[in-house]
Subunit: 192 residues, 2 copies
């Protein structure tokens, strides 16, 4: 029977993953108001019942989705083969552009006005923020025992988030590349 059970589990895991990826895509594309469980299920090619089996509530689905994709991205960032700090800064900023950041932004803004979402998204955001900081410190070879180093790295992540916000309405990539190049120099000098 094991031969029957294993593919079943695989199918279940694959369905879950399709739902999570569809949820992030819907959030980035339609925003919170337009992203219902039905819309996501249809995009994932899954029945609404199957979607609710995996994620009983809309909040479950979307917080799990943003967390899943954030973890995928953290893994990708950890394995960045950057030759120097300038490349690390560019890779960190890249985390805050694209569909994941866009989806997370819609979730944050919705959570700011919806009590049911707020506590979960706040907790998720704190966790993802700490993880991004930890990875950035490692990749930059930053020594946080030196005064100011921790705040230098935090400010860099805040700048990356602000750059992500600037790309929400327009393609800002040319300006962004110039700002990133200059701030990479400032960060490199500050970290010694």
């Amino acid at each position: 029977m094991a031969a029957v059970t294993a593919p079943k589990q695989d199918r279940s895991r694959a369905t879950r993953q399709r739902l999570l990826e569809a949820a992030v895509a819907c959030l980035a594309e339609y925003g919170w108001a337009g992203s219902t469980v039905s819309v996501v299920a249809e995009r994932a090619g899954v029945s609404r019942g199957a979607a609710q089996h995996h994620f009983p509530t809309r909040e479950d689905l979307f917080t799990a989705a943003v967390e899943y994709v954030a973890e995928e991205r953290s893994q990708a960032l950890k394995s960045v083969a950057a030759r120097d700090r300038r490349e690390v800064v560019a890779a960190v900023v890249d985390l805050y552009t694209g569909p994941l950041f866009r989806a997370a932004l819609h979730l944050w803004v919705a959570a700011s006005n919806e009590d049911q979402l707020r506590a979960r998204v706040t907790e998720l955001e704190a966790r993802v923020g700490r993880e991004s900081h930890r990875i950035a410190v490692g990749l930059l070879g930053a020594d946080e025992s030196v005064p100011g180093v921790r705040e230098t790295v935090q400010g860099l992540l805040d700048m990356a988030r602000g750059l992500g916000l600037a790309t929400l309405l327009t393609d800002d990539s040319a300006r962004r590349a110039r700002v990133v190049a200059q701030w990479a120099t400032l960060v490199d000098e500050a970290l010694g």
Copy 2:
């Protein structure tokens, strides 16, 4: 008749201003979905008809509101009596926290999914961004003919925007103060 007309104009201007301030407050508090013209008119103590006389469409009302408050804030920033660059950096960051930034953020996110809003908000955001940049350059005494200076100031404004986003869900003021202090030092050194 001039004595009759002038108070009438004053009243009309006062009504308009009340509507704009109520619109920003509603946007910050309820988000785009919860901010209808009726909700704003009620908060301003104005009839729905009077509101529509001033602003024929919802898009008119909210883009005008964010622009109006952004201009008020620019005026306030210009008159900042900062003793040094550290205080200027803190004042610039303050522009991106509080109800105006929160309202603008809701408008940006709504505009990213609503075609009617998108073009207007993109244009507004570009105008407000240029103005903030120009004021920051002046207050910081930054010489933009020196390579890298322009991008240093832009990155500072991006960082301020990212710090504003971090305050959306939680009170982030203690961390923000430490990051601002450190980056004020780095920016001061970079601007020479």
